[in-house]
């Protein structure tokens, strides 16, 4: 570990704000794109499944 203790780790020699905001922003962006990808996928599958079930019963 490059830091002596946790406080140092979070402060990063007064650069902590920058480093952590970058990591925070990136995590949020990646999470958002993953979430939108998976939810769209799920939604399409459900729509198609419902449509096929409806077609079958008719």
């Amino acid at each position: 570990m490059a830091f002596d203790n946790l406080t140092d780790f979070f402060e990063m020699g007064r650069h902590g704000v920058y480093v952590w905001s970058v990591y925070g922003f990136s995590t949020v962006s990646l999470a958002l794109i993953t979430w939108s990808t998976l939810s769209k996928r799920h939604q399409i599958q459900e729509t198609l499944r419902k449509r096929f079930l409806r077609d079958k019963t008719i």
Binding site: Y18, V19, I33, T37, R41
Partner: protein
């Protein structure tokens, strides 16, 4: 040499089956790799003697920038593949990857700007690299906007392929012109390029997180392409079987 594999690859059905079991492992491996690289970089890599701890932003900034460019390269190439061979999977790829590429460019831009504050003292410098990432982001937005405004699928496929190819040809010129312009305007500023040669403890985590992000983006791209294939091919029988069989 037989070209059947090439045309097979171009068929959405074959691609769907082939990629179905691949997306999750790729994504998962990418996540783990990225996490490993980032933790190593942020907690264990030594401090940069010039920039201090702010240099740890590199573990996000550089992979995102590399991915943004690679995604555009891939878009341009698949645009070319579509215009030349009419491969059906190519426009699906473009539609699926463009938003991911835009997110990567945005991440590179934001991290670059935040990195700029402690390094240069301002949030934004018209540095050649930042400017060309900005242009790249605008190109992505253009592709997405075009894709969303054209309702006719056939037209949208062609249009997006055309603009990707033109972008691919233009990107080197844009980059060169911006770099050239920058030297005229700026003189010598700090650049991110002129770092002292990095020790291995610094670049190995960078390499790992880059590989991780590559895999993560590939997984995302496969998922998005599968979704798009389902939408486009929803009338065909194999989609029906596929959807009814299990939850995928």
């Amino acid at each position: 040499m037989s070209w059947t594999w090439f045309h097979k690859l171009g068929s959405p059905k074959w691609f769907f089956h082939w990629s179905k079991s691949l997306a999750l492992p790729l994504f998962g491996f990418g996540c783990i790799c990225l996490l490993f690289g980032l933790v190593w970089g942020v907690a264990f890599a030594p401090e940069d003697y010039q920039q201090g701890n702010s240099f740890r932003i590199i573990y996000i900034h550089v992979p995102a920038a590399i991915l943004a460019q690679s995604c555009y390269l891939a878009l341009g190439l698949s645009g070319l593949v579509f215009l030349v061979w009419q491969m059906k999977i190519a426009p699906i790829f473009i539609k699926a990857v463009a938003p991911v590429g835009a997110v990567m460019a945005l991440m590179a831009l934001v991290s670059g700007a935040i990195w700029g504050k402690p390094t240069w003292g301002t949030w934004w410098v018209w540095d050649a690299r930042l400017t060309s990432v900005l242009v790249l982001f605008l190109l992505y937005m253009g592709i997405i906007a075009l894709q969303n405004s054209l309702n006719d699928v056939t037209l949208a496929n062609k249009a997006v392929a055309v603009i990707s190819v033109v972008g691919l040809i233009n990107l080197p010129i844009i980059k060169y012109s911006v770099e050239w312009w920058n030297t005229l305007h700026q003189g010598a500023t700090f650049t991110l390029t002129e770092k002292p040669a990095m020790p291995a403890e610094m670049w190995v985590p960078l390499l790992i997180s880059t590989i991780g992000l590559y895999c993560l983006v590939a997984g995302l791209a496969l998922w998005r392409m599968q979704t798009e294939i389902l939408i486009r091919e929803h009338r065909s029988n194999w989609v029906k079987q596929e959807v009814m069989k299990d939850g995928l």
